[in-house]
Amino acid sequence: MMPLLKPRTGGLLSLMVILVVLPLFFRNAYHYDVAIQSGLNAIVCVGLNLLIGYTGQISLGHAGFFALGAYASAVLTDRYEFAAVGAMIIGAVAVGCLSYLIARPILKLKGHYLAMATLGLGIIISIILNQEEELTGGPDGMPVSSFSFFGWDISGNLTWYGIVALVLLFTVWLALNLVDSPVGRALRAVHGSELAASTMGVDTQRYKVLIFVFSAVLASIAGSIFAHYSGFVSPAEGEFFRSIEFVTMVVLGGMASIFGAVVGAAILTILPQLLASFHDYEMMVHGAVLMGVMIFMRRGLVPTLVHFIRGLRK
């Protein structure tokens, strides 16, 4: 296969071109906003997709990690006068440790147990954010200062867009390399048959934990960026429904497809904006998409399309 057709080179290159060309079509701040939100969701979904698509585990609590990152940035910069970068790193490290502590014992169990544990963790995080009013501002949320980097205050839509695009590209690059590395092959073996993989000497447990922690840290970083970009955080970011949204994006785009995660995130961020006048039906559409994709297009949008195009060529 020509190198350009490989996802690691061609795919990444196309994504880069799309991200560069896209701003030419933006007419107003609203367009930028939707693009930035899509990008942030995509960062979370790329990580989550590694977990769901490549290890066959599911997390129903990733919004909790996203919110923890957002609040780490908000609280540390606002209440304790940390530098923005420092706050972001502390948030990411804390989320990494938390997810490691949870994942290590629980990933030993089967199938839906991780779903339950992450679900519980996500809800506990969201309850804490709502209740600790002195620290987090409670249900009303709290404002976040702008992101300053060695005296440079990041502001302006194009700048934020550029930063999110760069982080997204880096995340995708990292994920693509991870999938093509021995770790990725081990992960696919875990997905196929965990027992067989471990019989062949794959340390399945270690890889699953690694991916879980990686995806949680990505969510936390996306949360930090979101907090500084929007200038405001509220416990709504960590709600159970947000976690479900992330899972929906991954499933719609295509499990085990890195670009699928990006596409799924973009579609499900833009769709509610288009359906704004049908706000009452938003939930139904969401649910129907989840069920429909899983039943009729089990592999999701991007893999199904790729399969279809390959079929046409032959």
Partner: protein
Amino acid sequence: MFADFLQFLISGITVGAIYGLVGLGFSVIYNASNVINFAQGEFVMIGGMASVSFLSMGIPMPLAIVLAVVVTTFVGFALEIFAIEPARHNSVVSLIIITIGASIFLRGLAQIIWDRNYHNLPAFSGDDPIKLWGAALQPQSLWVMGGAGIIVLLLWLFFNHSILGKAILATSFNPLAAELVGIDTRRILQISFALSAALGAIAGILVAPIALTYTNVGVMLGLKGFCAAIVGGLGNPMGAIAGGLAVGIAEAFTAGYISSAYKDAVAFVIIILVLLFLPSGLFGRKEIDKV
């Protein structure tokens, strides 16, 4: 002092019985199909909302309740046929996602059919509390406890003394062997979903006069019922009731003695602790990976 303790215990047992009933629904479906039905809470919601809406049409209460249970049972039946059946051979993760989709879909549908307001179902036999050593016992609490007790008894009879019940049990032990002796396992699956929906609806109707009913009521009730099922050991019906009581009582005492702000977190802290230290729950059987 003692009156407080008794009061917390009563409210704990009351909500615990509800969690137990919801957990029972999880267990029935899990046994028949190894599916965790995340739409279980929506059955609870539909039961409550439908009885409120039948009642407002002027239908007498007992009939409204029966109708609500019937409607919910049909929803459960339809869920199995349209969403679970076509995806029978999908992975666990994809079945989880389907039921989550179903739950969001049903919630969205309910918001369109009914509304987003809170509704009140009148208590079955008045609101005059019974005094008990200084604590107040709502008559509805007795309905909840009694109702849960009767249902457990009926289920026990059903599973142990009826052909259909035994067929469901057989399917849960070994679907292939069940099919070999002539049990229509697809039918069993549909019946399990219908049965579980009915259980959810009854829980929703019993609790509606105590806690108001609204289209999002099923989210927390469903998740806590799920905690109950795990604490008791997934797939063990009596365990689900015990787990429900444990979660309910722990919640009531936390609210009473520690902090009512973190009441809702109790069930989820318990679930994580159980998963960390006692993964098969209190009464569950250990899972063994077969090749």
